[in-house]
Every structure is written in C-alpha cells, then in structure tokens.
C-alpha cells in the first residue's frame, strides 16, 4: 500500500492512490466524525429508564444504520453497472470500507447494549459477521496483491497451465525408454496432476498427495537400486514440481482474495432479511 501513499505526495490531483487512501482519507474522516457525533450524543443524552433502540436517539442511529446497510449493499450493483459518468469504484470501495466499519459503533450504540435471543440481536450478530469478514477482506486486499505479483512472475494463469501441459509432454517423451514399472509411475504423475479443487485444497499451497512429488520420491528410491537412467526424468519432474508449486500458490492467493466474499455476501443477504424482520416487528409490536 505504501506505493500509493508516496505517489500522491508527488502528483497532486493524480489518480494513483490506493483505495484506503482515496482522496486523502476522505471517507475515514467522515466515518470517524460519524462515530464521534454518535458517541457524544449517546453520552450526553440520558433517556429514562435507559438507552435502547426506541428513544429518539435510538431511532436516529437505527435509521442511519439501516440506510447505511442498504447503501453498502449497493456496491454490488455499482460495480456491475458500468455506466458513464464521473464515479470511481475505488471511491465506492473506500467509502464502503470506512462507513461499513463505522457501523460497529453506530449500530452498537443503537442497541443500547441490550442483547437477547431474538430477531433483533440476530440482525446485529449477522451484521458483525459481515463486518468481521470484511476486515479479513481488507487485510487480504492490502497484503496479497504484491505477493501474487511476485509469485506469478509475469505469467498469466493460462500460460502457467500451458507450461505444465508442455512439461507433461516432455515427461511422456522422457518416459519412452523407461522400463514399464517406471513408466507407469510417470504416467500416474501426469494423469493425477491436480490443481485447485475444493476450498481446502485451494487454500493449501502444497498438496500432500501431489502425484508429481510422489512419483519423484518413488523414482528416487528406485534409482538407488539401479536399472534405468532416471536422471533426466527426475529433472523434468522437479521442474514440474516447482511450476506446480507456483501455480498452486497462485490459486491460493486468488482463493484468499475471493473466499471471504463467500461469507461476506450471503450473510449480507441474511442480514437484509433479518433487518426487515427487525424493523417490521418493531413497528408491529409498538
């Protein structure tokens, strides 16, 4: 993130600022102001019998929170509707992050710290899950890109796959002169190459059952007992192993950048449903 910071100093009005630093932390400032005003109001206003969502301050904070939640959800629409105009998705992201985080304060004050086993607290808990998952998202967005860039070393995903396929061809060729029991091992390494897969596999950069690794170990063990010259095939396997490792790291980074959304987005919809239930029930049972 540091890059974006140094650049803005040099290039006034330039566009090269990260989403966290957008317009010199405009939305961070707004969010802090919102939190401060809410907290001050909460401290100086002492309702009887106690703080809850039903006071005028409670209603105000609740309305702000509800509007914010709906607006924060609209980021999903904004990023898909590529309309003309002077909007910047970076600005939206920046606002989404800081105003989203401000809900921790604003919505908590709205509750008046009254929690229970009911639909109201459900909405609050869901909101906190969404926010916490979002914090993970910020962390990944801020730390993964540079590592992903270093790891992929100018190669696109398609190119990585092509290279692996090319090495498979080399393996096939190098296996031609081998004895059948050795050739079978190589063939298995080719057939069982796995990249990606389920959530856990994507998050892991070294596969415990990596076919290439297994083949390498097996052939190394056999080399000691003589027979075929396994040197060339081992070196190809080694290269493939390195490539696979890089590709798996790439998959892992992509997964880290995406997977938190699989919590963040569905829970947001659950939150919207709970929020509607919360609002309707409050007014119904008034």
């Amino acid at each position: 993130m540091a890059r974006g910071n140094t650049l803005t100093d040099r290039r006034s009005g330039a566009t090269h600022e990260s989403f966290l630093r957008h317009q010199n932390y405009l939305y961070l400032k707004l969010a802090v102001a919102l939190c401060l005003v809410s907290t001050v109001a909460y401290i100086f206003f002492s309702p009887v019998p106690r703080h809850n969502g039903g006071t005028w301050l409670g209603y105000t904070l609740g309305t702000i929170s509800a509007v914010l939640i709906v607006w924060l959800t609209a980021l999903g629409m904004r990023k898909r509707a590529i309309t003309p105009g002077k909007w910047s998705l970076k600005g939206w992201t920046s606002a989404h992050i800081y105003l989203g985080l401000s809900l921790v304060v604003v919505a908590t004050l709205h509750t008046g710290f009254q929690f229970g086993l009911n639909v109201h607290t459900l909405a609050y808990v869901l909101m906190m899950i969404v926010i916490v998952s979002g914090v993970f998202g910020i962390f990944f967005y801020a730390t993964i890109p540079q590592r992903m860039s270093d790891n992929r070393a100018e190669k696109s995903t398609a190119q990585m796959l092509e290279e692996i396929a090319a090495l498979d061809n080399d393996l096939r060729e190098a296996a031609q002169p081998l004895a059948s029991e050795n050739a079978i091992v190589v063939q298995r390494a080719i057939d069982n190459t796995k990249l990606g897969g389920g959530v856990l596999e994507r998050l892991r950069s070294n596969h415990p059952k990596c076919a290439t690794l297994q083949a390498m170990n097996e052939l190394k063990a056999r080399r000691k007992s003589g027979g075929d010259d396994l040197g060339p095939i081992l070196s190809v396997l080694e290269r493939k192993g390195v490539l696979l490792e890089r590709a798996r790291r790439h998959v892992r980074y992509r997964a880290l950048l995406e997977l938190w959304l699989y919590i963040h987005v569905p829970i947001t919809f659950a939150l919207l449903a709970a929020l509607i239930a919360h609002i309707v029930s409050v007014f119904y049972f008034w």
């Binding site: 890059r3 040099r10 629409m77 898909r80 509707a81 590529i82 003309p84 910047s88 998705l89 950048l257």
Partner: protein, 817 residues
C-alpha cells in the same frame, strides 16, 4: 493462330476490370477481358473462406453494371460470375499478358500462351499483387509445388517444405504447424536470419521451433525436387528432406515493372509512387488507362466506379461527372464563395504551393479526404497544446501564429499559399502554438494519412514540407528573431537521419560538435556510472541535444539513445556557435538549459559512491517502461501490482463500455518492480496501426485518442502492424440481456465479455452475419467520466499516464526500492 482484334482490351478481372468490361458490354463495344488465372477476381478469390467483405465508404454511391454490396466472399464471387454471363462479357481466362505495345488505335497484346491480340485501347486493372517469383530448380514445375496457401486446415499429416522466410512464408508455416493437423513442416531461409519478416512473426516461429511444432533451416537453398523428396544445400552440406508439398513464398515481381514496360510513367522512384494519370485515368501512353488498386485506390467501390467511368470516357461521354462529385459538392457547399467543383479544385491547386504539382485526379482524391474551412478574423484555427496531426494549407487570406503563450498579441504571420500544423503531422506531438486567422481566411485541412500519401506520391511536396518543418522547429527552439540569411545557411547544411530503437546518437566520451534536433520519436540520455547506465532524462520530439559538448571541447559527457524509430536533424556545431554569438538572447536560453543539464550530471557524478539502490531502481524501471513502448506512448494504462487484486473488473468495464468486447488483457504483458504494462493501446505518437489502413479508418481524436471508426473493412493490417499486439479482430457481439435480468433471472452471460460460443450461438439464432472488425482501446472517447478501466478499478491499481507521468511513477518506485 488467328489474331483477334477488339476496340477495348481489359487486363485483370478484379472489381475494376469486371466493372469496366460490364460497361463495355452494355455499350456494345467489342471488348475482351483477360484474366491470368482460371477464375475471376483472383485477389478476392484468395481471401479466406467465408470472409466478410465490406462496402466502404458507405456514403459513396456505387455506379456499375455489376452489383456489389457487403457480404460473404462466396456470395459476391457467385454473383459476379452470374452477372458476367448475363452481360455476355467476353472473358478469356488463363491469359497471362507478357507485353503491351503500341498506343491509341494500335495496341498489340502478347499473351504467355503465344497468342497476340490487337486493341484500340487498353485498360490496366491488374491490381497490386504482382506475379509470384517461381521456384527455379529441377523439379520446380512438379504439381505439388504451390505459391499460395488457401486454407492450412485442408492439409493433414503431410511433409511440407516452405521456401522463403518472409512474413508470408512464416505465417503459412505457423498455420500448417498446428499440432492438430499433424503436418511435419520445415521452413527454408536463404539468409542467416529472418530480417525481412516482422519481429512478432519471427518470435512466434522461434517459439514454435522450441516447442517442436516445426523446424526451420537458415543459410540454405533448395537444389532439386522429385516426388516425395527435396534435396537442399545447407552450410553443413547436402540434406535430403521428405516432402510431398512445397509452398514457395519467394516474393513477387511488382506490377510496376510491367506497367513501365508498357511505357507508362510513375510519379516518382519511391515504392509508394503511383502511375501518372489524367482525370480520365489515362496514363502517359495515349490510349492506355490504369484503374483500381494499381492506380492507388484499394477500395472495391472506388475500383468499380472507375471501371464504369473509364469506359464512359472512352466512349466519348465527356460530360460524365465522377461518382464522388456529390461528395465534393457537399464539401464546398458551406463556403461563402460560389464556384463549381472543377473551379474549386483548380483554384486550390493554383493557390496552394504544395498542391501545384498535383494532377487534377490527385487533387480530387485529396479533396475527398480533406476539408475546406472558412475563418473570420481572429477565429482560432489551432490551439496550443491541442492534439492534432493534420496539415493546414492557406488558400486565401493569412494567419497569425502566437509565438508567446503569455502574450497573444505577439504574432508571426504566415501568408497565403503556405502551410502550417506540420510539426503535429511529422512528430505527432501536441500543437506548439495557437494560430488564428488574420482576416477572412480560407484553409484546407489535410488529415495526416492524406498528407503522408501526398508526400509519398509527389517528391516535391516532401522536400518542401521537410524544409518548412526544420525551419519552423529551429525558430521555435532558437527564437523567432533568428536572422533569415543565417537560418537559410543552417537549413542548407542540416541533414535528416533516422535512428532505430536503441541506436546511439551520441556516445559518452567521444568527440563531436554537432547539435541534434529531434523531429519525431524520442531519446533517452544516460550516463555511465561505475559500469552501469544511469538514466538521466527523456527528451521528446521538438527538443535538441548535443549542445553541452560545445562548451566541453567537444567531449560528449552522456550517451543518447533512441527509444523508438526517431528522426533527427543534424546541425553543424560551428553554425550553431556562430548563431549564439550573433544572438545573445538565444545564447542566454541555451546557457540556462546547459546549466540545468549540468546540474543533473554533476549530481549523478557526485553521488557515484553512495549511489546504489535508488538510482539503479529508477533507471531500471525507466528502462523497462521505455522498452515496453512507452517511449512512444501518449497515454498508457499501467497497473500497480501492489494494489491489483486480479478481479479483472477493468476488462469487464471495458467490454461493457464498448459493444461487449474488452480491448485490454490485464494479465498478459510484462511487469517490473510491480509496475505492470498490460496488453492495451499506448496511443503512440506516430501510431504503427495507421501506416496501412486502406479505408483510413484509424484516426486521432482531438484529445489524442487513436481510434478506429466505422469505416473499418476488417483487413487486419493494423493488427499485424501493431508491435504491442493490442488490436484484435472480433465480431461485434449481439446485445446482452440487461444487468437486472442477469442478476435476478440469470439471463444472458452477465457483465463483461461474453464467451465466443455464446456470441456465435446468438448470431446464428438471429441469422445475422457479423463481420470481424478491428477493435482497440479508444480511451473511452465520448464516454462521460473517462476510461472505464480506471473508473472500475476497486483498489486504484489501474492508472493512465502520459510519458512524463510514467517516469514519475518510475521515480516513485525507485525512491522506494
């Protein structure tokens, strides 16, 4: 053998020749249409199967007895075959013409098969393909030797030898070497490398060899051929190659030789020159007419109209106005003066010096592409710092150049008959000064492509423009008060040269006094510090280098290299010194510049010791960016990979903003110090893509964007000419269901570029044909808010920068590293 005698012989059965023959048949003239091959319209016949052929320019009406509208190659060819029969055109196929002798009333046409024809008039419509050079070895006439390749997919499991390592040969080899076809392909090249071919093609070829898909042999020559075997002389001795197909791509004899053998003259010795023609397309040989691509008209509609017109002229219909007459009328209609089109053309030709040598036909052509503009006193014609590459000529009145941006009242006049705007034309840089009308003024604005064509066809024009550009550049750089006599001496002594990318203009440590002015392109200045080249500065077109040596006894203290193809004006140092002595003001300015440059070099020199990280990083990042073509970019997309999360929203936004095709490939391209240059248009100063666009569909917009307009005919020249691979040939996808239909109902493929299967399926459903056209970044021209890729980036990784800007990016990266 009996001798046939006709009124009119037409050579070549392409669109121009066919149209002429149809008119002759309609008029009942005795005629013959001679075609070298065994089918009509060979150029179009050789297009790939199913190619969509366009009918541009759309505003030009078609005037021909042959029908023509945009459509598939097969449909057009079938229609022409039918109409040829319907008009009872007298066609003679397989009739290669060896020679045409004589003149009006008495031409003898000798054919390759020995026959001779007599004709009163001859129309040459043979196009620009030329005759392929033949493989002249024993067995070279065997039936498996061919000179073209229609469809590589028609060949499976064959031993194929390709002779000739030009672009055509390499492209054929790559097509045939597709692993699915299982051909064994070998390419033979006479020279030690592939210097005639484009770098991108050579790279693909080398890659293919590395991957074992094909083989090539350099420094070799085929010796003989027999069925199934080719014997080759290589530098290591004889080689016997299994071979059951030979494709010889040995270049072709240009049709110019043939035309000159007929006695017709060309406008000049350059490759771009065209035959000299009268307004009725008659060459310098009376009775010999030249039309179509050979006459300089590559578009089908032009060719067909000319075929019609030329026969009408021949038949005595002198009142016939060319089909483009209404277009020209419209160009002149808004002007306050009333003249007929012919009067206008003659007036402009006479009044504007650089048009003096043009033929009426060339005048017509230039005016079709140019615009006549009328200005009142003080109207702005061009504005300083605007982007523009067109050339202005003054037909009447005069203009004032504001030489001091601070004070518009200080001006230099340019009188009628002269030109201005030529710096933008030559260097592609922004306009250097605001120019306004001195009184009622009539100007002709010639777009860049037409101006370049003009310079190519009329050598006098190029000389004049070159001299004027140099003169004006000198005036801008060294002040307008320079003594005219001295300036003329400098201009006489100045020479023009072109540097290749990376070529050194000045080498550190050598002795030299010359001063260099950059006419187009750009340079980088480097200094060798501790065995490493340290980047000092970037010098754009319109600036000069070399002046420091004048004060250092001629010792050069830095190396200056070209970043791209760069044109340099060399000026002798003694003349420059003389000028400084005579002009204290200029001398002061030069001294200031020298002081500035010296500060930078001294700083670098002083920092030698503790100088590792920062400057190294800066230098290497700057080097990288220049290498990536940003030296000639005017606006490029960079991605800061410390921020890029790989969401590809930039691509999605691009596709959404432009007919569903993304014009950038984020992941592809090179990265250095986390600055990534994706595959996306750099909007070059002198765009390579513009060099050969038959319908002139690639233009530069007022804000600097290079874009392709709707005139594109899908020929793919720009895609091949772009060294950065940023132009794609794509079908325009059909409209997708809206965002909400996708979001809520799952209809359509969603935002972004739809996959090709979906596009093809939709197109098939609608029974519409979508031609492939060239697609590239237009910087979201005309879309409010600017480039969608930048607006849609959620983290701020995507940025657009100009050359000055990217060096700042480099500096920042360096400062950090």
């Amino acid at each position: 053998m009996s001798t046939v005698s006709v009124d009119l012989a037409i050579l070549g059965s392409g669109p121009a020749g066919l149209s002429a023959a149809a008119r002759a048949a309609q008029r009942g003239m005795s005629h013959i249409l001679l075609e070298k091959t065994d089918h009509l319209s060979d150029t179009i016949y050789k297009y790939q199967k199913g190619k969509h052929i366009m009918a541009t320019p759309s505003q030009l009406v078609l005037r021909s007895d042959m029908p023509f509208e945009a459509g598939k190659r097969e449909v057009i060819l079938t229609n022409w075959d039918k109409d040829t029969a319907r008009h009872r055109i007298n066609v003679r196929l397989r009739s290669e013409v060896k020679a045409v002798k004589g003149q009006r009333g008495d031409f003898q046409i000798e054919l390759a098969d020995g026959a001779t024809l007599q004709a009163k008039a001859v129309i040459l419509a043979i196009g620009t393909q030329g005759n392929p050079n033949k493989l002249k070895i024993p067995g070279g006439d065997l039936d498996f030797v061919q000179y073209t390749l229609d469809d590589p997919r028609a060949h499976f499991d064959e031993d194929i030898v390709i002779v000739g390592g030009g672009d055509a040969g390499i492209e054929n080899a790559l097509g045939l070497a597709d692993p699915e076809l299982a051909n064994r392909v070998t390419l033979l090249q006479r020279g030690p490398d592939f210097s005639r071919a484009k770098a991108a093609n050579v790279q693909l070829l080398e890659q293919a060899k590395e991957q074992g898909r094909l083989d090539y042999i350099t420094e070799c020559a085929p010796r003989s051929l027999e069925p199934g075997l080719m014997i080759i002389d290589t530098k290591d001795g004889e080689l016997r190659l299994p071979c059951n197909r030979v494709i010889a791509r040995l270049g072709s004899v240009p049709p110019r030789q043939f035309v000159e053998a007929c006695g017709a003259k060309f406008t000049g010795p350059d490759r771009e020159a065209f035959p000299q023609l009268s307004p009725s397309f008659e060459s310098t040989v009376p009775g010999l007419y030249i039309i179509g691509a050979l006459a300089g008209y590559p578009l089908i509609k032009h060719c067909m109209n000319q075929g019609y017109d030329v026969v009408e002229y021949l038949a005595g219909n002198t009142a016939l106005k060319p089909a483009d007459e209404p277009l020209l009328e419209a160009k002149f209609a808004h002007l306050p003066m009333r003249r007929s089109v012919d009067e206008w053309l003659e007036f402009l030709r006479r009044e504007i010096e650089i048009f003096n040598d043009l033929s009426p036909l060339q005048m017509r052509e230039f005016m079709l592409e140019s615009d006549v503009r009328f200005y009142r006193k003080d109207d702005r014609i061009i504005t300083r710092n605007d982007v523009g590459s067109s050339l202005f000529t003054i037909a009447q009145g005069s203009v004032l150049v504001e030489i001091n941006p601070e004070d518009p009242s200080i001006t230099v006049p340019i009188p009628a008959g002269q030109i201005f705007g030529e710096v933008g034309l030559i260097s592609g840089r922004r306009r250097g000064a605001t120019i306004r009308a001195a009184g009622d003024t009539l100007c002709v604005e010639v777009p860049r492509s037409a101006a370049l064509k003009l310079m190519g066809t009329v050598p006098g024009v190029k000389r004049r423009i070159d001299r004027i550009t140099t003169e004006r550049m000198m005036k801008i750089i060294f002040g307008g008060d320079i003594d005219p006599a001295r300036l003329n001496r400098i201009l006489d002594a100045a020479t023009l040269r072109t540097l290749k990318p990376q070529e050194a203009l000045i080498t550190e440590g050598e002795v030299g006094f010359d001063i260099y002015v950059i006419r187009s392109g750009s340079l980088v200045v480097e200094k060798n510090v501790g065995g490493k080249n340290v980047f000092l500065s970037y010098v754009p077109a319109g600036a000069y280098v070399g002046e420091m040596a004048l004060f250092d006894n001629g010792r050069r203290n830095a190396t200056v290299r070209a970043t791209v193809n760069t044109e340099i004006i060399t000026m002798p140092g003694d003349l420059f010194k003389e000028m400084l002595a005579a002009q204290p003001n200029t001398a002061k300015r030069v001294q200031e510049q020298i002081a500035n440059r010296r500060r930078v070099t001294d700083y670098v020199e002083a920092q030698k010791a503790g100088f590792s990280g920062v400057v190294d990083m800066y230098t290497s990042v700057a080097d990288f960016l220049v290498e990536q073509g940003l030296g000639e970019a005017t606006d490029a997309l960079l991605i800061d990979e410390t921020l890029c999360i790989g969401c590809d929203h930039c691509e999605t936004a691009c596709a959404e903003s432009h007919d569903g095709i993304s014009r950038l490939d984020r992941e592809a391209g090179h990265t250095y110090a986390h600055i990534h240059v994706p595959t996306s248009c750099r909007h070059c100063e002198n765009p390579h893509c513009m060099t050969d666009c038959p319908p002139n569909a690639i233009r530069r917009a007022p804000d600097g964007e290079v874009f392709i307009d709707e005139k594109c005919i899908g020929c793919g020249n720009c895609q091949r000419n772009c060294p950065y691979g940023v132009i794609q040939m794509e079908k325009t996808p059909p409209k997708k269901p809206g965002l909400l239909s996708w979001l809520l109902l799952g209809m359509g493929p969603g935002p972004g570029q739809a996959d090709h299967d979906w596009i093809d399926k939709q197109l098939a459903k609608k029974h519409t044909e979508a031609p492939k056209v060239a697609v590239k970044c237009d910087m979201c021209k005309g879309i409010a808010g600017g480039p969608a890729c930048v607006r849609a980036c959620p983290t701020g990784a995507a940025i657009r920068v100009s050359p000055e800007g990217y060096l700042r990016v480099a500096q920042a990266a360096g400062a950090e590293g």
